[in-house]
């Protein structure tokens, strides 16, 4: 977003909109604090709008499980398959994540029942709580389990995405696991460390134009109660937020801050990437790097299995337990655990060596993983164009006949309207992949400038990695 767009946006919302600058980081581009916009403020401040949406999604969840278990076995006619894997998944990748970061997490119903038990209430905590409230084991911190979960989804993708019964069981398993973990561990352990979708949305939330941040850190320093931290279901302390990967946008900190010191900022896309590295401690955590790589590998695998022309690959991915499936699974794991991490590590290592960087390789790998985020996000968006768009007509027909039992609730079940994307989808996909590639390159460039100053030498191997991935994706999607 450029300066002019920013001004236009501000005027559009309200003449009273207040610009906010984070006092401790003056170099960061300016934001628009949505919380200060008069008509948005009550929507964020009140529990009810978000709560009502969550109640609706919870009811939708219950109906989806019923449809999955008892509806038609034909995926294209079952609400569970079409709403989970076509409508919701598309909305997640095309709207929730790129525009709202973890905005889905803010309305996701999965943690609701567990949290109810854990906190003794939905909106207000009570003394009658259940659960052990243990701390999450240190060894399992980070996004390792989420990466693993995503790989498991990839292993069973062909069946899960087409079998309504299995989809219902997966949803129930997520639901059950969320409840169990809420009863054993404190806060949203399931969302933070286990939910694969949480991992997926979390890392790409760094690119999104929404963030929750503290306005003035000095106020927080003087505030001894730390109500924001105590009320955060995710266990985050807003002052410490360096990026938007962990924040589930639940707005509890904003509601509990006595000084109105929390902002919900509209910010330029990708603000978290390559930002504020100068002088800041660089993380050496590899879990996010691994997650980012798993997302790339999964995008390739999903594109190959679900939209590719290879019948034998589809059959192999479908025939769970067969030797062909074992081979497919082996290939998927080798791609995600060996080839991509190996190639990325090699690219970082050679970039470091060539540019004379003094950063420890582990830190460099962790740091450079940010480059992979725009690349991955746009690869998933491009995949969605060819995977989900041609199936959009099913969304309409399952609304009218959600269980595939031959109903016609509004007389339009047989509408054959289907967006014909074949004409523009290849062009659009090329454009999307290019946007991802260029964005990644620009992140790489900024990172290199802050790290060594010798830009080209450091980013060239990474550029080659990104280009190779983009070409592979292009080949899979456009052919």
């Amino acid at each position: 977003m450029n300066k002019f767009q920013e001004i236009a946006l501000k005027e559009m919302f309200s003449p009273n909109a207040r610009e906010t600058e984070i006092s401790s980081q003056p170099a960061i581009p300016r934001r628009i604090n949505l919380h200060q916009i008069p008509w948005i403020r009550p929507l964020l401040q009140s529990h009810w709008p978000q709560f009502l949406i969550r109640s609706l999604t919870l009811a939708g969840f219950a109906f989806t499980i019923f449809a999955g278990l008892f509806g038609s076995r034909v995926g294209s006619h079952n609400f569970a398959i079409i709403f989970v894997w076509i409508a919701w998944w598309t909305a997640l990748k095309l709207a929730f994540i790129p525009l709202g970061g973890r905005s889905w997490c803010s309305v996701c119903p999965i943690p609701l029942p567990g949290e109810w038990l854990q906190q003794g209430g939905i909106l207000e905590k009570s003394r009658r709580r259940f659960g052990l409230n243990l701390r999450w084991p240190k060894r399992l911190r980070g996004s390792w389990l989420q990466s693993g979960g995503f790989l498991v989804i990839g292993l069973f993708s062909a069946v899960t995405l087409t079998d309504a019964r299995l989809t219902a069981w997966v949803l129930m398993a997520l639901f059950g696991l969320a409840i169990i973990l809420s009863l054993v561990f404190e806060r949203r352990a399931f969302c933070s460390y286990v939910c694969p979708i949480g991992g997926f949305t979390g890392i790409y939330a760094k690119t999104a134009p929404v963030e929750v941040r503290v306005i003035d850190t000095a106020i927080c320093a003087a505030h001894s109660e730390k109500t924001c931290y105590h009320n955060c279901p995710w266990g985050l302390y807003p002052v410490a937020l360096r990026d938007s990967a962990q924040c589930g946008l639940c707005m509890e900190c904003l509601r509990s801050c006595p000084s109105d010191n929390i902002a919900v900022n509209l910010r330029p896309f990708g603000t978290d990437l390559a930002a504020g590295n100068k002088g800041m401690r660089q993380s050496s955590r590899l879990d996010e790097t691994f997650l980012a790589l798993v997302m790339l590998g999964s995008a390739l695998a999903f594109a190959a299995v679900l939209t590719g022309p290879w019948g034998s690959l589809k059959s192999a991915a479908f025939a769970i337990g067969s030797p062909a499936w074992l081979l497919y699974g082996f290939g998927l794991l080798v791609l995600n655990l060996v080839i991509l991490p190996g190639a990325f590590a090699l690219a970082v290592w050679s970039g470091q060596r060539w540019s004379g960087g003094k950063v420890q390789l582990r830190r460099a790998i962790a740091n450079q993983a940010q480059i992979l985020l725009p690349l991955g996000l746009f690869a998933w968006i491009a995949f969605t164009v060819s995977f989900a768009f041609p199936k959009m007509n099913y969304v309409f027909s399952v609304i009218f006949d959600p269980l595939g039992w031959g109903w016609n609730l509004f007389g339009t079940a047989n509408s054959t309207w289907s967006p014909d994307v074949s004409a523009f989808s290849p062009g659009l996909q090329v454009a999307l992949l290019l946007v991802g590639l260029f964005w990644s390159v620009s992140v790489a460039q900024r990172l290199a400038l802050t790290n060594t100053g010798r830009t080209l030498r450091q980013i060239l191997p990474l550029l080659a990695f990104c280009l190779a991935f983009s070409l592979a994706m292009l080949w899979l999607l456009v052919g």
Binding site: H47, L58, A62, V74, H77, N78, G404, G406
Partner: protein, 332 residues
């Protein structure tokens, strides 16, 4: 605390609404009999046997769980209806006569497509045992599995219209329906060859006369109905051109090992008969073909059509099968 209770109530109301909608849906679904169609390998029709009283409407809701199927009732005029994955096709059947009816699939859904059969038991007070008239091949005592070869075969495909142009008189004995049904073309050819009055005609001329005789025992309506039956039920194996090269023919000739063995419900299958093979076909009588159609080919994978085709349909189908040997006037 009031706020908390409102929130809890909202959650419960919403979830209860979702469950109620689901339950209402469940109730609404139980009207009529739902029949699920699957490929024979994975179960066929479910349920596969139904019972209904004579004259009472039987309301069926048909759906497919895998590929497209079609639902038809044997020995009835009811047109087949498509059974589409995930959609419900509603059919209401009323049976006037008691008895056992076969319903079957008319879409070539898999190599074992023909095994997709089920029955409707129509009960009624007057369900008296009806005297069953044995089919012709049984009356004739034909061994329909015996080898048969024509010693003489035509040089080209015999034509009924060329036969008519010869102006030759065919003895009336050979023109009767009984003769036609119980004799092979080769039998008739040999009989004509032995006729002194036809001695001036060439072998090919006599074949044209055989074609003419065969034509005189059918009608354009029969041929058209026969073609329809053939296309729907036979062409999957025997091929559109009758050459035994239908889409499933390759599966039927293959040895039963490995993955293929699991797909095949039967142990023994054979390549479908080539109806364009003159040596084989011209030595077969319509009665023999009737036997094959009604009983099926034992140990070849050829299904039995006795419970499905009416007598008229069987003869119409046989008449059409001869068009792979003869050029018959008005043949489709």
């Amino acid at each position: 605390m009031r706020k908390e209770w409102i929130a809890r109530s909202v959650i419960l109301v919403f979830v209860a609404a979702a469950i109620t909608i689901s339950m209402v849906a469940w109730q609404a679904r139980s009207r009529g009999v739902v029949i699920h169609a699957r490929m024979a390998e994975t179960g066929g029709w479910n349920p596969e046997s139904l019972t209904v009283e004579v004259g009472r409407p039987l309301h069926l809701r048909l759906t497919s769980d895998d590929v497209m199927h079609s639902f038809a009732i044997g020995k009835s005029d009811e047109p087949p209806v498509d059974v589409i994955p995930g959609e419900i096709t509603e059919v209401t059947l009323t049976f006037d006569e008691p008895g056992k009816y076969t319903f079957y699939c008319t879409r070539w859904c898999s190599v074992n497509h023909w095994r997709m059969r089920g029955t409707v038991e129509v009960t009624g007070p007057e369900a008296a045992a009806e005297a069953v008239e044995p089919p012709l091949y049984v009356t004739l005592g034909l061994d329909i599995d015996a080898e048969h070869h024509a010693d003489v075969i035509p040089e080209r495909r015999p034509s009924a219209s060329l036969g008519a142009q010869l102006g030759a008189e065919i003895p009336t004995d050979y023109q009767s329906r009984e003769y036609y049904r119980s004799h092979s073309p080769a039998d008739l050819w040999q009989a004509l060859r032995d006729e002194a009055s036809l001695s001036s005609l060439t072998n090919q001329d006599l074949w044209d006369l055989v074609a003419l005789t065969w034509q005189s025992n059918t009608t354009p309506q029969d041929l058209s109905a026969g073609q329809q039956l053939y296309t729907n039920n036979c062409a999957a194996c025997h091929g559109e051109t009758g050459a035994g090269d239908g889409v499933f023919s390759d599966d039927l000739k293959q040895p039963k090992t490995g993955e293929h063995a699991e797909m095949q419900a039967g142990e023994m299958t054979a390549r479908p008969t080539d109806f364009t093979d003159a040596e084989h076909m011209l030595a077969a009588s319509p009665a023999r073909l009737q036997g094959k159609v009604l009983r099926g080919g034992m140990g070849t994978g050829m299904p039995y059509w006795g419970p499905i085709f009416t007598k008229e349909q069987t003869w119409a189908l046989i008449a059409y099968i001869w068009t792979f040997q003869f050029k018959l006037e008005d043949a489709p």
